[in-house]
């Protein structure tokens, strides 16, 4: 297996032109996506690292794609800011590029949106070795095709990311978390729907099976006690309160996504699909985030079984960790539009895991 260590976009271009099939790898925190198939040359992207531009007053951060999330988050925190899509796996070494290519957001995406909502600009090397830039580095921009969004979840099949620009926001000055257990799933879901449709602004709205809602509030410290009381009244239960360092630690731990043994899988869904899925998933450790739109689960059986299960539920999933020959599982999302765009950006199939 050939492994290359480019340190500049030009070296990435060179590598793409010189090799038949290539796979980019950042921090390796999602091995199911970054383990090469036979004949794939690996491009270790950590040599393209560092923040290129950051002016806290602009709410914009530009960094090379191989920059570790941890480094970005530390810099942002020094100025009271954060990546509002709340990417997971920072402690395991995930990079910005890997996060975008895998399309991963975390629990706090509930408040302002996911990675697709915060990516502003992208620079990438296409399948012909051309260096392409799209989007920009201002928070509002409508010029040209939105290739930055296209790259979210593209798994390295459309281009190798070299530089990324994001919108960032001020981090809430205080946070508090309420864990509310319900007797049954139906009651938890009913509360989830009511909360999601209410003006109560939650940073996280997670459903922890069998029937607990974990709710995170954020904002000015002086307003938090009153808001907590209103929240409790709204859900009609006192719940267990987490505050201070224990609360921060709780969410830090969660973002490691160490849910249990086996494959780590992301599933995109809507809350309507949860009851049937809960019946089907059995004992697999799991957590629904962002009001039931995002599921992370640990699957300790054959991935093929989960693939079949998701198909039955009309859902699609992405294996992040654990041995698999197929990272994308569940229903087939292929269509003409996607095939033609992929062929336009990578006509020779250099980013395809299988020989064309």
């Amino acid at each position: 297996m050939t492994v290359l260590h480019p340190t500049s976009p030009a070296e990435v271009q060179e590598a793409v032109r010189a090799h038949r099939r290539v796979l980019a790898r950042g921090g390796g925190s999602k091995p199911a996506l970054s383990t090469p198939a036979e004949g794939q040359t690996v491009l270790e992207m950590k040599g393209l690292s560092g923040v290129v531009e950051y002016d806290p007053g602009e709410y914009v951060l530009v960094a090379k794609a191989g920059t570790p999330l941890a480094q970005v988050e530390e810099l942002l925190a020094q100025h009271g800011q954060y990546l509002p899509f709340d990417p997971p796996l920072a402690e395991q070494g995930a990079t910005l590029g890997g996060t975008v290519a895998a399309g991963l957001s975390g629990p706090m995406r509930q408040r302002y949106g996911g990675v697709r909502d915060f990516i502003l600009g992208v620079q990438f090397v296409d399948g012909e070795g051309q260096l392409v830039r799209a989007g920009g580095k201002v928070v509002k921009n409508a010029a040209g095709f939105d290739l930055p969004k296209l790259m979210v979840g593209s798994l390295g099949r459309l281009g190798l990311l070299t530089e990324l620009a994001f919108k960032v926001f001020p981090y809430p000055k205080a946070t508090a978390t309420l864990q509310v257990a319900f007797p049954r799933l139906e009651e938890a879901l009913e509360a989830l729907y009511r909360l999601a449709g209410s003006p109560i602004e939650l940073y996280a709205l997670d459903l922890v099976p069998p029937a607990t809602l974990t709710l995170r509030l954020g904002g000015l410290p002086e307003a938090l006690p009153a808001r907590l009381e209103r929240l409790r009244a709204f859900v009609g239960r006192a719940g267990d309160l987490l505050e201070g360092e224990a609360e921060a630690q709780y969410w830090r731990n969660l973002k490691r996504l160490e849910l249990g043994e086996g494959h780590l899988v992301k599933v995109a869904l809507t809350p309507r699909q949860i009851p049937a899925l809960e019946q089907a998933l059995g004992s697999a450790p799991r957590r629904y985030m962002s009001a039931g739109h995002l599921l992370y689960l640990a699957w300790n059986h054959e991935p093929a079984r989960l693939d079949a299960l998701l198909r039955l539920q009309n859902l699609s999933g992405l294996v992040l960790k654990g041995p698999t020959h197929q990272a994308r599982i569940g229903i087939d999302l292929e269509h003409t539009f996607g095939r033609r765009v992929a062929a336009a950006l990578d006509p020779q199939g250099r980013f395809s895991p299988t020989p064309p």
């Binding site: 007053g57 602009e58 709410y59 914009v60 009271g80 399309g103 995406r109 697709r116 909502d117 296409d126 051309q130 392409v132 830039r133 799209a134 920009g136 201002v138 928070v139 509002k140 921009n141 409508a142 010029a143 040209g144 095709f145 939105d146 290739l147 969004k149 296209l150 790259m151 979210v152 979840g153 593209s154 926001f169 001020p170 000055k173 999601a196 449709g197 209410s198 003006p199 904002g219 000015l220 002086e222 307003a223 808001r227 209103r230 992301k266 995109a268 809507t270 309507r272 962002s290 739109h293 995002l294 999933g317 994308r328 999302l333 269509h335 539009f337 996607g338 765009v341 336009a344 950006l345």
Partner: protein
Amino acid sequence: MTLLEELGRFFPPGRLLHKPGELVPYESDALTAFRARPLAVVLPESHEEVVQAVRWCARHRIPYVARGSGTSLSGGSLPIDGGLLIGLNRMNKLLRLDPQERIAVVEPGFINLQVSNAAAPYGLYYAPDPSSQPVSTIGGNLAFNSGGAHCLKYGMTSNHVLGAKVVLPDGETVVLGSESLENTGPDWLGLFVGSEGLLGIATEITLRLLPKPETYHTVLAAYDALEKAGEAVAAVVASGLLPGAMEIMDSLAIEAAEAAVRAGYPREARALLIVELEGEAPQVEAEARYLDEVIRRSGAYEVRVAQSAEERLKIWKGRKAAFSAVGRLSPDYIVQDGVVPRSRLGQALSEIERLSARYGLRVANVFHAGDGNLHPLILYNGRVPGELERAEELAGEILRLCVALGGSITGEHGVGMEKKAYMPEMFSEADLEAMRRIRRALDPFELSNRGKMFPGGEAPALHQAGPHPLERAGIISRE
């Protein structure tokens, strides 16, 4: 059988227009400086009819433009000489409203503001609010990734579209996106939204609805200098607050707004700043104390806080009317929507002032200060020979300035016909070539909205303009 007879098999006479008199209303959009006459206009009423129209175009290699209410300020829905215009206003149904899942499924001709109206009984609304929202359609908003006054906090149209059923330029239908906010593959829908009609026509659009904020705190501050208003915005941002909207108007814009709607603005102000907080009541109350302190220290000579929903609407009424109101100050005007990094706002404005003096043309400024989205309104008189050309030249200089300061040539109006010549200022040949390759992969003959977004190609001649008829009537406004 002639081409039109063939088209007539799919469209009855009332929905297939081809007589010169019938075509005139479709000859231009809100960028009235351009005009072109299509071969015919069809008015489909279903997805299948859009497919038939697109297939007819594909068969005969006839270029086409899809259009909603025609409020594009970039000439995005300008027809093509001898091409087909597909008017989507009759596909204006709300197909499904699901308050529990917080989604609305609409046809492309559904009006932006009607989405929020339909969702209001459930305490929900549709966030993107371009000033054209009383008339502009969701299909057009999607194609041009429309913005509005709340983009810093809530994003643009693309952040609120979950899915779309799309007719590709060869007539095939695909469904992009889903009802989930998440996804497990490339964001094809993300590419489609904002592609200015070049990649296909959306016939069914799934929108995401948000809960209406519980309360608002709207502040109007008057300054004796534009720079002070700009500095106040920087101070608000530095305080860690994230207002829903921050808007600035200069003296010329204030004068126009007052003349038009009598919003009660301090007329002698050199600049007005509107800042609006929104959210849960206890949070907004606490934030308001910080905001009021920041504004007090910013050197505002007069500060008003809306005490009621009516007062809030009055403050916004002047702002939303400012553009069409400028029509009262000048027979014609051009509006640009370039973006600069927020910290460069002051520099951009003084440069625009300098350019205005050099070109001898007045420029009014109304802008989304929170996201650095300028809206210089260049006033000219089309009857004075050479003034339109001078105004166009000045507009071009402002776009170049935005790019030079690290910004964009368009924040929300799109490239369309108007700004395509400036795309190379912002993107390299390799960047544009990658975009062109994507376009040709889906539309090898470049039929769909041919002549827009990409530089080159023949442009229809500029002519003496004047405001859009709807704008003259005060029904729509530009932003």
